[in-house]
Every structure is written in C-alpha cells, then in structure tokens.
Symmetry: C2
Subunit: 592 residues, 2 copies
C-alpha cells in the first residue's frame, strides 16, 4: 500500500518563511502564528495520513455502486467522513455566522492539500460541498442561507455542481435543462445532467444540487441561464427533511480513476428548485464557485503528485538494482539503491522541484484570494483572476506528468495496481479535464484574462517579478542562480504578450494557436518567481543562523535545479507562440 | 466503441515514396512492388479493423482469468487468433524452411502496426512468439529448430520471454532461478519469474518459455546466466505433446492496462529445460530477441497513438461546441465542430506529426535491420543498433503523450471508459516500461551505443543528415522550412555529443544526468530527418504530376508543423544536457 506522510514542514515553510503570513495585513492573518498553524497542520496531517490515506486504494478497488437508486460509497468512507466532519475540517474557512471557523482561505488550502494527497476521490465530497456553500453564501437570500449553510458547513448535507449535459460541456449556452416557474415562487426543473461528481452517495442525509437551467424569457445562449438550488430531499419549514424531490441517479460512470467518487448521470424530472441569485444571471453565480474550484483543482494536481513523489522516493531508496557508475555505494549489498543513478535523480528532482514550486504558487494565490475577500483589494483580485487559469492548467498538466514520472521509478511494479502508482496517474488525469479542460484554461488566459482591465493584472505580475529582482539584486549568489534566469524567463513572457498584442486583433487565430504554450510559459515563470522567493527566504533563514541548515540548503538546491533545467523551457514555448497560426491551421479539415 | 481504419495509404507512402523499397538492393525487396504491398496491407488492415479491433474494448473489460491453473483469455480472442494464424500473418517474415513466408522484416513491421493499433494486448501473443522464434532460429540446434520453429511460425504454439524476478528487473545479474544439469543433457529449472506477458492462455496447444537461469560454474552476475527452452507440455520425439512440465501460473497481475494480455507470475518447480545457445552466454542470446523486441515496442508507442488520433479527429469533427473565433463555420448548427478551434488543431497536429514521423523512423529502422540481416551490412547494423534505444524510448514517451492528447480532445467523455480513450492511454503506458524502462534506454544510448565502434554509427547518422541536406540544397522551399531547421537541430545534437565526449570520462554522472534529454534530443532530430525526407518525397510526387495533390500537400504541411514547432525543442534538451551533473546530484539522499 502506498505511504503518505503529511508534509507539514514544507507547508510551514511556504506559510511562514515564504509568505510570512502572520505579519501580513490581511484580517485574520495575525492569528496564524507558526505554532498555531503547525498544530492545525499536524492535526489535519494525522487525519489525512492515518484515516483517509489508507482508504485510497480501497476506494479505487471497490468504487461506488448504484443499489436500488442509491449510491453506496466504498467501505470506510462513511466513518472517515464522519471524522472529518467532527474534526471541523469542512468548516475551517466558513462563515462563523453559519457554524464555520472563520479562518482564512489559505488555511483551508493548506489542510486540503493533505486530504487530497491522501485520497483525492474521498476529499471531493467535501470539496464540492464547499463550492455549493460559497455560491449560496454569496448569492443566496437570507432564508436560503439560514436553511442550507449550517448544514453544508459541517457537511451534514453535501453539495454538487450541475453544469454539463450530454451535448453541452464547455459550451453551456447549448444546455437544455428547463426551469418552469410555479406560483409559489419555486421552479420545476427538468433535464439531464452528466458527470456530476458526488451526485449521490451515502455519506450525508441530504444533497443540495446547484443546477444550471433555462427559465423562460432569458434569451439565447448563456444569457438565458439561471442557477437553482435543488435538494435531494425537500426541506420542511422547521429544517427537517421532507419528501424526496424529483431528482434521481440515472447511472454511475465507469471512469479511468477517482473510483471512490461517484460520478453520476442525474435526471431531473420536474424536480422542485429555487432560484439562487438573479434570474438569468446563472453564469455569473456559477463563476463565483468556478474560480475557487479551479484553484482547488490546481491543488489536486500537485497534491496527488506529492503523494506519488513520496512513494517514488521511498522506492528509489529501498529497491536495489545496478551499481552507481562512479563505484558501488552499497558494496556489501547485492546492488545499489536506485537513487544513486543520475537518471533516477533527474526524475525525482523534476517531481520535487515541481511539487514544491506548485505549492508556493497555490499558497500565494490563496493569499491573494484572502486579500481580495478580506480587504476588498481589487489589485489582488485582478492578479489572482489572471493566475487562476495558470494554476488550474499548468499545475494539473505538470502534476499529471509528475505522477507518470513517479510511476516510472517503479518500472514494471508501477504498472501493476498493487503498489498504487497507477492509481495516482489515473486519478490525476481528471484534473486536466474537469472544471474546464486545460485548453479552455489557456483560452480563458489569453482570450480574456490577459487583456482584462486594460492589462493591469498582467502588468502587476511583471511588477511582482521586478520587485523581487530589485529586492535581492545585491545578493551575488542569488543573482547568478535565480535572478538572472528569472529575468530571462520574464523577458520571454513579455515577448509572448507583445506578440499577442501585435497579432491578437488582426489575427485572433495566431493568439489562440499559441495559447497552450503561453499557459505553460506563464506557469514556468510563475514557478521561477516562487523558487526565487523561496531561495531568498531560505538564504535569510541560513543567515539568521537556523539550526536546520540542511533543510534550507535543500530548498536552495531544489530551486537551483528548477531555475537551471526547467525554467529555460520558456524559450521553447515562446518560440512556438511566435510561429503563430499558420503551422497549426494549415490543413483543411478533411486532411486530418 | 472506438473506430479504427487501416492507414494503408500512409504506410504505402513510407514504403514507396519515402523508402522506395522495391528499388533497394536488399534481397527480397524487389518483390515489394507497390501493388503487392498494397494488397498485403489491405488484407492485414481488413483483419485488423474488422476482426481484431472490435475485441480491443472486450479485452480491456473482461481481462484474463486464472481458472484451475489455466488462463482464460477474453471472449473472441481464440477465434481471432485462429484467423490471424490461418491468414499466415504470424509467419510473414519467418524462414520458409520452417513454414514461414520469407518476406522482409519491414513487411512484418508494416502489418504489425495495424494489428497493434487495433488491439495491442491481443497482438502481444503473436509478438512474443515471434521473439521466441527469432532466438531459437539464431541460437537453436538443428533439432531444436525442427522441433519448435514450425509450430512457433504459425503460432500453433506460442512463446514467452522470462527475464524478470521479484528482486531482479533491470539488474538481471541478481537473478536466482537455477538450472541443474541432468544426465540426459537437460536441466531442471527452479525459480520464480514475474511480469511474464502471455505466460499462460488458451490460444495455443503449447507454450514455449525461454527462461534465463543460472547453471553451475558460470560465475557471478550476468556472466553466470544461460537461456533455456522450457515448454509448458513436453514434446515427444514424434512431435506430439507429452506430459505437463513443472511450470505453473502463480498469479495473474492486475494492471493499469493491456488487460487482454495475461501477465503472469510463473513458478518453475524443477521444470525440464534445454539449453538454448551456449552455456553461460544467455544474455547474448537474449539480446538477439531484445533489439527486435525494442523496435517492436517503439512501434506499439506510435501504433496506439495512431488509433487514438483517429478517434480524436473523428470526435473533433463530430462534436459541436463553441464558435470559431473568426466567425461561425457551421452557422446553421447550434455550434461549430471542435476542429475549428486553434488549440484543438494544435493538439491534433502534434499527434499527427508525431505518428507519421514515428512510422517513418520505425520503417527506416526495419529497412536497416533487413540490410543487416540480408546483406550482412555491418554499417546498417551499427546504425540500427544506435537507433534502437531512440525508437524504443522516444517513440513510446511521445506515443503515450500523444494518447493523452487524444483523450484530452474528448474532455470528460475521454475520462469515462465508454469511449475507449482511457484504454489507449492505459495500454500505451506500459510501452515506456517494458523491454527496458526508458531510463535504461537512455543509459544504453549514452553509456554504450554512442561510443560503440569508436563512434562510427553516430558519425554515420550525422552523415545521413548531411547527405539529405546536400541532396536538396537547391530546393529553396525545402531549404527554409526543412533543411535549415534540420541543420540547426543536428548542430544541437552534435553539441550534446561533444559535451559527453568532454565530460564523459572524467565525470560519468554528467553524461548520465543528461541521458534522458539526449534521447529526446536525438529522437527529435531523427524525426526531423524523416520529415525532411518525407517532404522531399512529397515534393517529388507533386513535381511528377501526381493526381493526389491534396494528400502530398498535407504531408508537407504536417512536416512543416513538426519542423517549426516540435523540432526546435532540441535547443531546450541541449541546454539541459549542458547543465551536467550538479543540479541533478546536488541533494544528499536524505534530503529528498
């Protein structure tokens, strides 16, 4: 069975050495002293590693089953979910008015990383609930909040997002689910939704479906869409559960991975629903959940990669095969451990430098979310809005690739299901697809975010880089290994932006043909910025006389690997961006 | 269910436009006129697409099962195997003295591509048999040949390769299976082998296991290893089957993919075996099978990618979602087909340009194998020996990535098992692992092949590039789009070789830290060379007034995509190679 050890030390490094959160001016952050966050992370890590992680393989093997119209989750999920609920982990960053603990979002992100790494499929039940909570918290009426939020906060009830229909995925304008207004102010919802994660299960008393549907009078396309609350069981005036609503599970999908999460076809047959937010403004309401959900998916990308990496390291230390080219390192044994071989090192360093860089980027994004929510900081909101498709698209592409690398360390033992390495790969694969396939993230980045607010957020990102370089320019060591490569990569990013500005208007295909490479170019620069800041933080700790020199030195060495070997890929991506539309669009449709 | 159409036109292009095989001086090639090979390919393609491909999903779903010590293959496999046997497809390039058809290897490769694309797990039963055939054909005694070859040629009996043991994969020197010599000249084989593909099944009367084991007196490590023939049923003097040998299936592995092929734990309990080839020279005998097997795995890499690509194209044409950014292309429909979107085009072009380039490289390798076998051409043998780890490592890495891209086109529909896109990814994943994990291919390339014969094969490869450039340097169009990029990429490859030469002796870790990037750098240059030659061939056809202009123009456009967007990655790989050992080896083992 795969191992999982909570990476508390590494998360603490990001929260305190890198972001110095307890000294930031964000309301609520002053409580986040290192001792406090360590205690929280240790407790979450214990639950993750001892209770949730052992169920990961169980969930994969057993999957979810539809029995008489109700979904049964794998053995042990119900107990573990109960423990998660009781520990207050689902309520961490929720509004205290509705039973939440009111912590900043960054703490939710930090603890969730461990829950996801331990068991991604399991954690989706509460993750989606949090999305529903957010949507109702922002858009709900006072009555709706009172009815649903306390139950969603502690996951007594769970939530879902119902967007996709068989013929309408990315293009929601085509959806057909109908909402017919009733005299009592409710709607009758009719239609079929597919790919509904946690659509049904036996972990909670009730399930609150948020459903996109078309109510009369809204016009064509996405303009006509509204968002509705459709509970599995209707809720009586006193909060008790009433009769079963007209929503049922049509089927559970057989998937490549995340078998522990039920992905359902949901049939709405005149189910009773209530409008959430404004009529015909459903897309806006849905996007409230979407940005948070997309950062959450980016987190899944590197969290699963972290778990896979830990196992790859353990195997590389344990498995003896061949001899070091420079002479036996385990001369009394039959062979040397895999970890002596340079190509295994390369593989592990690629994983490690990605996971740690990704964690920093996600945490920085969460910090910006907190600034935006708790300080109404519009600049932070703009910046995180720009970063969101990069966090989602780049971190999941790289996270998946990283699990494949981890699996590769195991050789044939990685391909059989026994060791769990295949599961990491199969689970991670979905992160590139759901919450907007990564091609759509690239389109969002280049087509919308780049030009948003006249390019202000993009300028703000370049300014972050400039300030970081300026702040450390007197540090000669940092300059050669970090600042100079960051500057070069940043220039590549600027050149790509320039190319889009020049081409974008007259030839939109030229910009979109390069959108995917641009997303990766941006992602590398973002991770390069994070590694520069982490290296600076580590150098500070060393200068301050830390007792843990080896740890901080390993950070710098890992960062140097990223800056030296990974970051220069920006040049290749820029080169591709500049080739424009012609190579990509040259063929006629029938020439494929 | 996924579609599969036999790519006869594209294979014909490679055989005749690119390689002009019927005019090469290789014995047997003059028979390979275009009409003849087309007829062969059409017949193989019909079997592949109509009989074998429909069993691909069946095999994945049903898998293989161990019942009372015997493995049952999925429904329909036995009938299809019978048809393959009866059609003579297993005997295509086998020795006519033993019932083979005596065609060149290149025809076996060309037909196998379609069988693999149709159903990789199914085709492994005959693929491994061919490996056993080759080993016995080269190393067997006259008696052994007479006993086994006729049955292996037509797959009445099948074969296996038994190398791996639980503690010994790459490092075969550690294997423990013992061979005890008996008075009658036979040996008793005792030990456990794992990951034995097609280790048992119900498709053939008998299974001929080729088993690596240690016989007394051979010394330590790989020096003590010999190769043995161990039939499942002993063979009587008259060729009839005798009693069951002491070999049994311990277990079938649960794997990520290739469920239709039985991957067995094989237990040898004093099984009767006969030495194949020289005593204590088992590794050499095994390597006879290995080079051919590795090219075969490289073929699997792009063949599965071809199948996945075909489905991605079909889906991209069929699925309507969103509108083209330059204006609706399907104005009367609810949305435009996916294929109008530039990022979908990019995705499809990456797949297409890889698959077609890979097919050319594999065919060229097969041509070199034929030269080496049929003409005793030592230069060809040296060159293909150099290319083999690239064909295996690069084509399977890229092939897997290509199936992931194809799956991505389907969005959420790619993640559910229903459409078969997940299976392509799960099946393709093994190709990066078996027959020597790709890290081992990179090690073989840099550690052995590069310096083999004093670097003669590497020089010969550069000479191939030089000649190609020289031959077409007056063609201005070809020069800008193909020759110049090829020259630049080739310089990157030369620079990497130089780096290894300078570093290799004094710091072997520096060469090995860059081995994986070198393998990819080499792979891109090799595909760049193939695309240059294909473009030149297409230009010739156009100049000759072909009636199929659109086809040849699409070749040039696809090649241009590769040269413009993919080939320049050589610079990034060279950059990494040059960073040497330091970034990779910086951490102590306990810092991971």
């Amino acid at each position: 069975m795969p191992i999982f050890a909570a990476p508390v030390r590494d998360i603490q490094f990001v929260l305190h050495d890198l972001l110095d959160i307890s000294r930031q001016d964000v309301p609520g952050y002053s409580d986040l002293e290192a001792e406090f966050t360590e205690a929280v992370l240790e407790a979450a890590g214990k639950l993750a590693s001892e209770i949730i992680a052992p169920l990961n393989a169980v969930g994969d093997r057993q999957g979810c089953h539809l029995e008489n119209g109700v979904v049964r989750t794998p053995e042990g999920f119900k107990d573990a979910f109960e423990q998660m609920r009781e520990g207050g982990w689902t309520a961490l960053d929720c509004d205290p008015d509705f039973g939440g603990q009111g912590m900043p979002y960054i703490m939710s992100l930090a603890t969730n990383e461990m829950f996801v790494a331990a068991n991604m499929a399991f954690n989706m039940y509460q993750g989606l609930t949090h999305g529903a909570y957010s949507a109702i918290h922002v858009h709900g009426s006072a009555e709706q909040k009172a009815t649903y939020l306390p139950k969603l906060v502690n996951c007594e009830w769970t939530g879902t997002m119902n967007l996709t229909e068989p013929h309408a995925g990315t293009d929601l304008g085509m959806l057909r689910t109908k909402a017919e207004p009733q005299d009592d102010g409710s709607y009758l919802i009719t239609g079929q939704k597919i790919f509904i994660s946690a659509g049904d299960h036996d972990l909670a008393e009730n399930i609150i479906h948020l459903v996109l549907a078309k109510a009369p009078g809204g016009g064509e396309g996405t303009k006509g869409i509204s968002l509705f609350i459709v509970p599995k069981f209707l809720v009586n005036a006193d909060g008790s559960l009433g009769e079963r609503n007209g929503v049922s599970v049509g089927n559970i999908e057989e998937k490549m991975g995340i078998h522990g999460n039920s992905t359902c076809v949901m049939n709405y047959d005149g189910a009773k629903g209530w409008l959430l937010g404004d009529l015909h403004k459903g897309m806006r309401a849905m996007f409230t959940m979407m940005n948070e959900a997309r950062i959450g998916v980016g987190l899944q990308g590197y969290a699963v990669a972290e778990a896979a990496y830990q196992n790859a390291v353990a195997y590389a230390r344990d498995r003896v095969q061949g001899r070091a080219v420079t002479g036996a390192e385990n001369p009394t044994g039959p062979a040397d451990p895999l970890i002596v071989h340079p190509d295994i090192r390369r593989n592990l360093m690629e994983q490690k430098s990605f996971v740690e860089g990704a964690r920093a980027l996600a945490a920085w994004s969460a910090y910006l979310v907190d600034r935006s929510h708790r300080l109404d900081d519009a600049a932070a909101e703009g910046l995180v809005s720009l970063l969101t498709p990069v966090v989602k698209g780049f971190l999941t592409d790289m996270g998946f690739a990283s699990t494949v690398q981890a699996q590769q360390v195991y050789g044939g033992h990685g391909y059989i299901e026994e060791h769990g390495m295949s599961q990491f790969v199969r689970d991670a694969r979905i992160t590139m697809i759901y919450e907007g396939a990564n091609g759509v993230q690239a389109l969002d980045l280049v087509g919308r975010k780049l030009a948003a607010e006249g390019g202000k957020p993009m300028m703000a990102f370049f300014e972050e880089i400039k300030q970081t370089i300026k702040q450390h320019e007197d540090d000669a060591d940092l300059k050669a290994s970090f600042l100079d490569p960051l500057k070069a990569a940043s220039k590549d990013l600027q050149a790509a932006v320039m190319f889009f500005m020049e081409q974008g208007m007259k030839n939109p295909n030229a910009a979109l043909a390069g959108s995917y490479d641009f997303m990766h170019l941006f992602g590398h620069v973002a991770l390069g910025l994070m590694w520069t800041r982490m290296a600076a933080a580590a150098r500070k700790a060393l200068a301050d006389g830390t007792s843990d020199r080896e740890y901080y030195e390993s950070k710098i060495a890992t960062g140097r690997f990223y800056m030296t070997r990974q970051l220069p890929l920006t040049a290749a991506h820029l080169g591709r961006v500049r080739t424009g539309a012609d190579p990509v669009m040259a063929l006629a449709e029938d020439q494929f």
